[in-house]
């Protein structure tokens, strides 16, 4: 027996907003070479925060990237920075301003905030940033996070921990998160 009129669809699915994330509490040491120029491949990927996938549902959608990093540079934290890279169909695109005319200046998407620049052993930095990307595609997009520094030949960044490994309250542990959300 028909249940007319109730067989007429009475609801539609509310479209979900594409959202993806990576969150890590891995303790890791990442060695970053001095950045010498855009063609030298000195950027060092943070593997724990890279590979974030999202697929926009329309070409006009923006992708809102939000990144929180906890960690400590072993030297000169004021020279450390982060750049994003977008990958679509194997085509890699830096999202920092290197595609503009900045000469030899170091491109970056965000810088680290410090609490005591004189301490590089037990005082973590944090980096918090937002970027609006316009990938102009409905294909799957991959986002990667890279560290850059330009002060010494090689500098270690200690993800989610401090440079010093002591087991006490002053050597903090944290957590890092990278999210992508489509808007518009």
């Amino acid at each position: 027996m028909s249940d007319f009129p109730f067989s007429i669809p009475r609801r539609v699915d509310i479209p979900t907003i594409p959202f993806s994330y990576i969150q890590t509490d891995d303790i890791a040491t990442i060695a970053v070479s001095k950045w010498e120029g855009p063609d030298e491949s000195d950027e060092k990927k943070i593997p724990q925060l890279s590979g974030l996938l999202i697929t926009p549902t329309s070409e006009s959608q923006k992708v809102i990237l939000q990144l929180h990093i906890f960690g400590e540079w072993a030297i000169n934290p004021y020279h450390g920075s982060v750049s994003f890279k977008r990958i679509v169909d194997g085509v890699e695109t830096w999202l920092d301003p290197r595609r503009t005319t900045i000469g030899s200046r170091r491109p970056c998407n965000a810088l680290f905030a410090l609490s005591n620049p004189a301490n590089n052993d037990s005082t973590p930095e944090s980096l918090n940033t937002t970027l609006v990307d316009l990938p102009n595609t409905t294909k799957e997009v991959t986002y990667e996070v890279y560290l850059l520094q330009a002060s010494v030949t090689s500098a270690n960044f200690h993800l989610n921990g401090t440079s010093g490994g002591s087991d006490n309250t002053q050597h903090e542990r944290g957590i890092s998160t990278f999210t992508a959300e489509c808007k518009g």
């Binding site: 007429i8 609490s115 005082t123 944090s126 006490n168 002053q170 957590i175 998160t177």
Partner: protein
Amino acid sequence: MSDFPFSIPRRSEARANTFSFKQYDEDNKEYDVKNGNPTDDAPDGKDGLIDDYLTCFVTTVGGNYSGVSLDFNVVGEWATQQENKGVAIARAKYNGTSYVYDKILRAAISDSNTRMISPFTISFHANHSSTMDGCNGKYIDTDIAADTLYSYTVLLLNTSASGTHLFKLNRTITDNTGVDYERGVSCITAQLFA
């Protein structure tokens, strides 16, 4: 003219209450925070819980959610050692009568190290009277259940070797009326996602 059969509701209500926030702009709160890690079920054990003033609420009732995306911005000034301070988030679950704290969202267990989401930072580290500290961070909480009410509260942490340290929310330590004694606004937001 009737548009029958299309006047029959063809869609459910849009999902409501997927976003929650608490923002506080008063400068009348201060906290004397003891050093060390508080426990999951007693997050105010070190007196760092900014209860009510920076608490937001989330409900998973009526939805199929896989997580909560949390963001926070806390400003104020520590009277000493801002380099040994941070923020975590204390979660509580409604048991039918009240909200009961069940988990602090923070770094994984790591011996005696103080565990947080993010440290406080400052623009001039040598000043502890007229230079506000700030702490921003985010956390994805996927350890949630269906048909449950949760609260999320900003939790201040003191990671110094010992002692109790003063934090004044949304203001500088010194109560001078000069323009270089800033006032700020703090907030926490929660966004459910499917």
